[in-house]
């Protein structure tokens, strides 16, 4: 039975994602507990292999069909790497590729899956995952004790592995599987439009979520942001409603911010939001629900209604 751990590296144009190093660090820890090795699969970016010093073996699969992420081509390549490596555990990020491949491979490679993991430890032969469920309101402890299993891990859950330079112990170039007759073909990549506001550069962010209820009510946070002379940022639902441009979105599919202060109004603190702001130096959260997960990362919190608090803040800062 295998004792190795395999990580799928994620990259954008050859630049490896921070989350990949977090997974490699965890993979090393688990593999050493089981007496196995750490393998990393890199699809479509052969040069990235040079930055994977934390891995024992890097498997490079290169083919034009995987230079940009595409579920079907990635899936076929991963099945072929899995066949070759036969790991005990496959680690993926809770990212777009992880959501596609984790779920699909759990059927196609016939392995149980623990999703939204934030903790992962070896317990004898098993891996025990701690997973977020119900938007982070509860945690679930899941025991993975099959010969093969998969976990998708939320970004920021583990410290990154230090090994970023020097190659891996060894690198092998795997022959791509048959990638003919793909039903999914990439046409292009789109990046969001710049708006002239860079929320990642701000010292303070006033951030607003669905608790604000309507576009008209945004004036309340605009007044506070104006009084402080700082930009407005927001959770995804505000952006999806078209109330603020995409460049103002904080989180997994928006921007990762690290301001000196993050003031959150009416944001529940879903895992995808926390991923983008949990490293802020100071977090102050206003949410009427005392059980909202935002209070897990906030330094100061209040359950006062934002409609009562915002005017008080603005009046005092308005000058």
């Amino acid at each position: 039975m295998g004792s190795d751990v395999l990580v799928l590296a994620e990259h954008a144009e050859g630049e490896l994602a921070e989350s990949t190093f977090e997974l490699i660090g965890k993979a090393r820890e688990l593999a050493s507990a089981w007496g196995g090795q750490t393998h990393v699969a890199v699809l479509g970016a052969p040069r990235a292999a040079g930055a994977l010093g934390g891995a024992d073996v890097v498997h490079v699969v290169d083919h034009p069909a995987v230079s940009v992420y595409s579920p079907e081509a990635y899936e076929r390549c991963m099945l072929s790497v899995l066949e070759h490596v036969q790991p005990k555990l496959l680690l993926l990020g809770t990212t777009t590729p992880g959501m596609d491949l984790g779920a699909a491979l759990s059927v196609l490679w016939d392995a149980p899956l623990a999703a939204y993991a934030v903790g992962l430890v070896a317990e004898g032969d098993a891996a025990v995952a701690t997973c977020q469920i119900y938007g982070g309101k509860l945690m679930a402890e899941v025991v993975l004790e099959s010969e093969r299993s998969i976990a998708t891990v939320i970004g920021g859950s583990f410290p990154p592995s230090p090994g970023r330079s020097g190659g891996a112990g060894s690198t092998c170039t795997d022959e791509p599987p048959d990638l003919g007759d793909l039903r999914t073909v990439v046409r292009g990549v789109k990046v969001p439009e710049a708006t002239g506001v860079d929320i990642t550069a701000a010292d303070i962010l006033v951030s607003v979520g669905r608790g604000i209820q309507s576009r008209d009510n945004l004036t309340l946070v605009e007044e506070l942001a104006g009084a402080l002379g700082v930009p407005l940022s927001a959770s995804r639902p505000i952006i999806d409603q078209g109330w603020l441009p995409k460049a103002h979105q904080v989180g997994k599919s928006g921007q990762k911010v690290k301001p000196r202060a993050y003031l959150a109004f009416g944001i529940s603190g879903a895992p995808e939001h926390l991923e983008g702001m949990r490293d802020a130096e100071l977090i102050v959260a206003c949410n009427t629900d005392a059980g909202a997960p935002i209070f897990d990362v906030a330094h100061y919190g209040t359950t006062i209604d934002l409609f009562d608090l915002l005017p008080e803040l603005s009046a005092r800062l308005g000058g």
Partner: protein, 257 residues
């Protein structure tokens, strides 16, 4: 073109979630159940596709608390058919189990595109779209933010991090996990929902329930609060003062402000 939208009910997360005596499920007795927000996005995108192409939209859901209102609302919004799969065991069900039930039903249907929400808040063992696709041998994509489809091909935008999106062409049939429709989900007037309810029209089909695939769930527990949030109590004016003091003490705003 035929579109099938898989929808489901979830506990309203605004409520407090308590554990039942097994410690492996939440106590569902007094909970309110609401439609999964991402399924509503999938439905909206499907209805927009219907408007653009004349496609037929069928919604399907497992029989869970208050699901009738979700299905009738979908009909009121413009779906052509609504099907409820009955005979579902109570309580939490793994996504693999849900996918098995849906796939068995889907195998008997004709469709070009299956759409569902990108995730549900209790997906402990992965997301529905990719599991259904893998079971049916279909191409799939998660975190989809726009779908156009005609002549057996869908053009979809699949969002990666940082707002970057990949545009891909997928040969149909396919399964999509929708993150956001290109416009906010439409509103169905209550009168129209009532009309739909009075007209009946909800189809029922027995679910093919197979023995459950359970991830080795040991227990549920509340997150350990890192305990760092100091809660500020008092009237709004007092709390506002405290927050300003805190910002001032960190040198983030002028002492005079």
């Amino acid at each position: 073109m035929k579109l099938i939208v898989a929808m489901r009910q979830l506990p309203d997360l605004v409520e407090e979630l308590e554990l039942d005596s097994s410690g492996k499920d939440i106590d569902r007795e007094y909970l309110t159940f609401v439609s999964n927000e991402w399924d509503e996005q999938a439905l909206e995108e499907a209805l927009l596709l219907k408007e653009a192409t004349g496609a037929e939209v069928c919604v399907v859901a497992l029989d869970e608390p208050d699901v009738d209102s979700t299905l009738y609302t979908a009909l009121a919004k413009g779906a052509d058919r609504a099907v409820k799969l009955t005979g579902i065991p109570e309580g939490w069900m793994s996504t693999h189990d849900r996918a098995a039930i849906l796939s068995a039903w889907l195998a008997e249907q004709s469709y070009d595109l299956i759409m569902t929400g990108v995730q549900a808040a209790d997906d402990l063992d992965g997301q529905l779209a990719a599991i259904v696709a893998a079971r049916l041998g279909l191409p799939h994509a998660a975190v989809v933010v726009r779908v156009d489809a005609k002549d057996g091909v869908a053009v979809v935008s699949q969002e990666l991090g940082g707002g970057t999106a990949v545009e891909a062409e997928i040969r149909l049939p396919a399964v999509l996990g929708v993150q956001t429709a290109r416009q906010p989900p439409r509103y169905a007037p209550i009168t129209r929902i009532r009309q739909a309810m009075n007209a009946g029209g909800l189809e029922e089909a027995p679910a093919a329930v197979t023995p459950g695939v359970r991830p080795g769930l040991r227990r549920l527990f509340p997150p350990q609060r890192s305990g760092q949030a100091e809660m500020l109590e008092g009237a709004p004016a007092d709390v506002a003062e405290r927050i300003i003091d805190i910002l001032r003490s960190k040198g983030l705003i002028d002492a005079g402000a």
